[in-house]
Symmetry: C2
Amino acid sequence: MRPADDRVRLKKEGGRYHHGNLKDALVLAAERSIAKSGSTDLPLRDVAKLAGVSHAAAYRHFVSKTALLAEVAVRGFASLKEKLLAAVEVAKAPDARLIELGVAYVTFALESSGSFRVMFDSALKPFTQFPGLAEAAAESLAVFQRVVKEAADAGALRSDDLNGSVTSAWALIHGHAVLLLDDHLALGVEDAATSARGTMRRLVDGLRAR
Amino acid sequence: MRPADDRVRLKKEGGRYHHGNLKDALVLAAERSIAKSGSTDLPLRDVAKLAGVSHAAAYRHFVSKTALLAEVAVRGFASLKEKLLAAVEVAKAPDARLIELGVAYVTFALESSGSFRVMFDSALKPFTQFPGLAEAAAESLAVFQRVVKEAADAGALRSDDLNGSVTSAWALIHGHAVLLLDDHLALGVEDAATSARGTMRRLVDGLRAR
DNA sequence: ATCTGATGTTGCCCATGGAAACATCGGTGG
DNA sequence: CCACCGATGTTTCCATGGGCAACATCAGAT
């Protein structure tokens, strides 16, 4: 019996020795597990078990458990960036684009809570110790910077302190997301987008050029 | 020789078997340790060692390591509440009081970063599982509610959605504190209060009655 | 002075992150 | 073709750390 046949047979029977795409499977399993437990402090052994593999197998793809979390974060930031970019497209008015950006940020935090929790977990500090993480994070933040700058250029927001405006917008919506995720706001998930929009609107009013 | 004398003598010689105030010492040690490491995931054994005691001694005062963290959080919320109340006093104008509240929040987060990290650590969720924790947290938030309400009553802020305004104020300054603590804002500690004031001012502008 | 409950200590167990040594697979060059 | 080899997984082992249990020490009450 030839090796290729073995592979097919083993795959069909589910008894294969090599996984085939373990790295992705581990990242996915970690995301899901964290989303369910609400904690980034998950046993690597459990993640491996979810992927149908022994715990030590993870070390063929990640130098450490933290490195696995870092990969979750990198992919999370990439996904967040895409969601933010997509959200910005749907609005025309420059200030409305900033508001939609905030709504998308909160929506991402709730829908991809596993990723979001890891992305801002202190275990990954400093980001520079994991290749690609700092860049991925910076690219997400860059969307905030671009949208604020465009709104200011269009005269919709004051432009005397762009960095300050960016920081305020990020801090506001990040705080909203974090408090929502940790159940500190007495809000159902269904009200999350609405409250996020209201919060962003209030800030945008404050940022408006006078 | 009376017992009280024994205690004094033993304290001076440092060779005492019983600690005398271990509970407080453990809480203090945990705060400091977390502030230094930047992580709430600290070995209980290290905390006990800092308090000069074996690790199992902690279980005479806390049912679990998490319960110790909960006590840190309860005291942290109590301390935060005091700081917020004190800060509110220094300003006269209702909207300025809200701004000072935010500055004090960030200042607390930086100066008591160990406590602050624990207070918002997901390991303590839900707060109701630890006696006193939910109440302590609610009392801190109540300061936000009171200050916003007073500003609205004085006509300094719009009063059509008080809960929304409170949420925005808390989310904004909480996000600012969190991002600062985790080095996501390119700001030195010395600029923290200034940037917090600027951020709060922007939001208050948006909350202002029109 | 002794007894007792509160407080600490030592020793143990078990879960978990990580290293090491071995097993298996799949592609590649003789 | 097939024997080898690098990649990927498994098993086994160790160290760390939370938590329990049994024992030690102390302080106040009787």
